[in-house]
Symmetry: C2
Subunit: 138 residues, 2 copies
DNA sequence: ATGTATGCAAACGATTTGCAGGCGA
DNA sequence: TCGCCTGCAAATCGTTTGCATACAT
């Protein structure tokens, strides 16, 4: 199932701004802010408005096609999201992003925390930051 | 070592706004935004300015006394931080926050990811979200 | 005494909303 | 055709900065 189908099945229309945002993110080598997406998308579709980028990102995020990236300072950048549950690994130097699966590695930690705290854990936010292989040698 | 000593040793002065922010966070049952901290702190210290809350939070965060909380939407709330490395567990209903240690539970996951990706992992962001024991029964 | 920290006002930047028209299904 | 979606302008919200004064050390 490609992303257009997935977006459509989630009840959203396939429109030019959404296509442009997806195309920009597909070609991006790192997480991009709405402004950056707009700047790049504007070259592909002259009449693209910044507001539409925000609204496209909201729709795409709700459909599970893009994911917001959290950093210590700004949390307003986006990357493409693969289907299923993934975590993000970011290079702090070049911004490169790698996804890795999944929930399994956390399950024993979660079980332990649930037992100790009485919480029922429903979701989690995990992101690793480091240096990618090329950047390690600079 | 109490927090004033810790702040002082980090090279910051002990001032009324910083004391008020710490006092508000000590009494808080959940993460608070700068605006919320200001509203509560203003009752304790009438001349407290919102700007000073922002600057106090920046100082306290750099000194390791408070920690920013990341949520799917807003990432601008703060909680008291215990010394050392901890992760956060949030109740999605009442906002209650619990810390749990540490790095150890992630070390095998991190080693695995490093091997698979070539990254050197330096830091991580982990937050769990769920329902605390009281809220589970509502 | 010295330089940091404060409070205010204003600047600033990011995100959201109202609205009239356009386009996807 | 119908209603979601777009682009624009303006409103809104959170955060930062400039500056004169006050306070911690």
């Amino acid at each position: 199932m490609d992303w257009e189908e997935q977006l459509s099945q989630a009840g959203w229309r396939i429109t030019t701004p959404r296509r442009v945002v997806m195309q920009v993110l597909e070609q991006a080598a790192r997480p991009l802010s709405p402004q950056e997406i707009h700047a790049r998308g504007h070259r592909l579709h002259r009449s693209l408005g910044l507001v539409s980028v925000y609204r496209a990102l909201a729709a795409l995020e709700r459909a599970g096609l893009v994911r917001r990236v959290h950093r210590e300072d700004r949390c307003n950048s986006y990357v493409l999201a693969s289907p299923g549950h993934h975590h993000l690994l970011l290079c702090r130097r070049c911004g490169r992003t790698v996804e890795f699966p999944g929930t399994e590695d956390l399950s024993s930690l979660i079980a332990q925390v649930e037992q100790q705290t009485g919480f029922r854990v429903e979701d989690h936010l995990l992101q690793l930051v480091g240096l990618c292989a090329p950047c390690r040698n600079l």
